[in-house]
Amino acid sequence: MGLLAAGIGAGIAAIGAGIGIGMIGKSAVESIARQPEASGDIRGAMILTAALIEGVALIAAIVCILLVFFS
């Protein structure tokens, strides 16, 4: 049961993070295409935001790992 919960939870977390980071990448590429001279700043902001989203997704992943190995 714990294994099932961990699998489903990891999947849902991956969906959420995937949508979020995908949207960041989309808007970053669009804005770099519009304004190539600002690409350095945009890349920095993109990595920062992606890291923030990734943190939330990884907290979910850690909970799943705990479920698998320590439940």
């Binding site: 990595i47 920062l48 890291a51 990734e54 990884l58 907290i59 992943a61 850690i62 790992i65 190995f69």
Partner: protein
């Protein structure tokens, strides 16, 4: 590309052609039978250091009940032969007297790698500063990869991370911390890729300590405006403060928590992924015979090489993200808002 995708489909096919009985047997493995490959055992902290296939025992420092003086032994076996402790499987000690173990402060493999990374950082900083001082005033560029690489890193930390995120007047004081964090985390991440290496950052205690440093620095250098924003948010209706103050106080602690978990989880997941994919060889040879295991290795080893390259990149990227977020948090706290009066004047 086509070959890679064909290989992937082949692997996928192998997964689905798995005998369900064998899978269920593997799931029920924890009832005593030894698993084919022990994933968590490879990732966890140990009381020995593996170098070239040999286990070097590390010192044990143990506090027992009723005494403030720790008991120090040169190795686990020395602790056992002293008669105070019994050894359980996996180098775990259990007190054989009536005084239970209160705190185990033993030197572990992660700690050794942590010290190693810090020593390297200190050595790099001192050597770089000495060489820089010697060349001050010269017109030509510095020679040698060492000086060029680390001066470039230092400039990158100073200009792209510290200067852009921390207010102009205060950023100089934080550059050494940010540089030290960046270099030592990079070393700790990359040491895990060496043979017999241990990723110290794949341990929540190591990353939690690093995040705690950032937390203390952030709060210590918090400006008056930072604390005002935490406890008494300006320019909002009074009732909103009932909601905002707890959220802001919670926010103080979730930032370093997320910082610690992000680094830890990235490193842990990379390590688990590599071990799992390499472990496929042993799992297949266990179920279908050695020849099948050899066949799998032709597929799995190139995949692992690709993952290694990815992990090296992720190791540097995560060190960068840790440093960048530390700088952002410090900058947010150290900032002084001059414009608040202006907004009030307009309102």
């Amino acid at each position: 590309m086509a070959q890679a995708s064909r290989g992937f489909i082949f692997l996928l096919f192998l997964f689905f052609s798995f005998n369900p009985a064998a899978v269920s047997a593997e799931v029920q493995d924890d009832s005593g039978e030894e698993p084919v490959i022990d994933v968590m055992g490879k990732v966890q902290d140990h009381n020995y250091l593996t170098v070239a296939g040999f286990d070097i025992p590390l010192p044990r420092i143990i506090f027992v009940e009723g005494s403030l003086v720790p008991k120090v032994y040169s190795s686990t076996s020395a602790a056992v032969s002293s008669g105070d402790f019994n050894e359980l499987p996996g180098y775990v000690l259990e007190s054989s007297t009536e005084n239970a173990i209160v705190l185990d402060m033993s030197v572990t493999s992660h700690l050794v790698y942590f010290w190693f990374a810090i020593l390297l950082t200190v050595w790099i900083s001192i050597a770089m500063a000495k060489k820089y001082k010697k060349g001050a005033g010269r017109e030509t560029e510095p020679k040698g990869w060492f000086q060029n690489l680390f001066e470039l890193t230092f400039l990158f930390i100073r200009d792209d991370i510290a200067k852009t995120n921390i207010p102009e007047k205060k950023y100089r004081k934080f550059v050494p911390y940010l540089f030290a964090v960046f270099v030592s985390i990079t070393f700790m991440n990359l040491f895990g890729l060496l043979p017999w290496g241990v990723t110290a950052t794949a341990d929540i205690t190591v990353t939690a300590i690093l995040a705690a440093f950032t937390f203390i620095l952030t709060q210590w250098n918090g400006s008056k405006d930072h604390w005002e924003h935490v406890f008494w948010f300006p320019n909002v209706p009074p009732l909103m403060r009932v909601i905002l103050t707890p959220i802001e106080i919670l926010g103080l602690f979730t930032k370093p928590l997320a910082l610690a978990i992000r680094l830890f989880a990235n490193m842990l997941s990379g390590k688990i992924m590599i071990i799992c994919i390499l472990g496929l060889i042993f799992i297949f040879s266990e179920f279908f015979g050695a020849a099948f295991g050899i066949g799998t290795s032709f597929l799995v080893v190139p995949l692992t090489v690709a993952l290694y390259v990815l992990k090296a990149f992720v190791g540097i990227l995560q060190a960068y993200i840790f440093t960048l977020l530390s700088a952002v948090f410090i900058g947010m706290a150290a900032e002084e808002h001059d414009h608040i009066e202006g907004i009030e004047a307009h309102a």
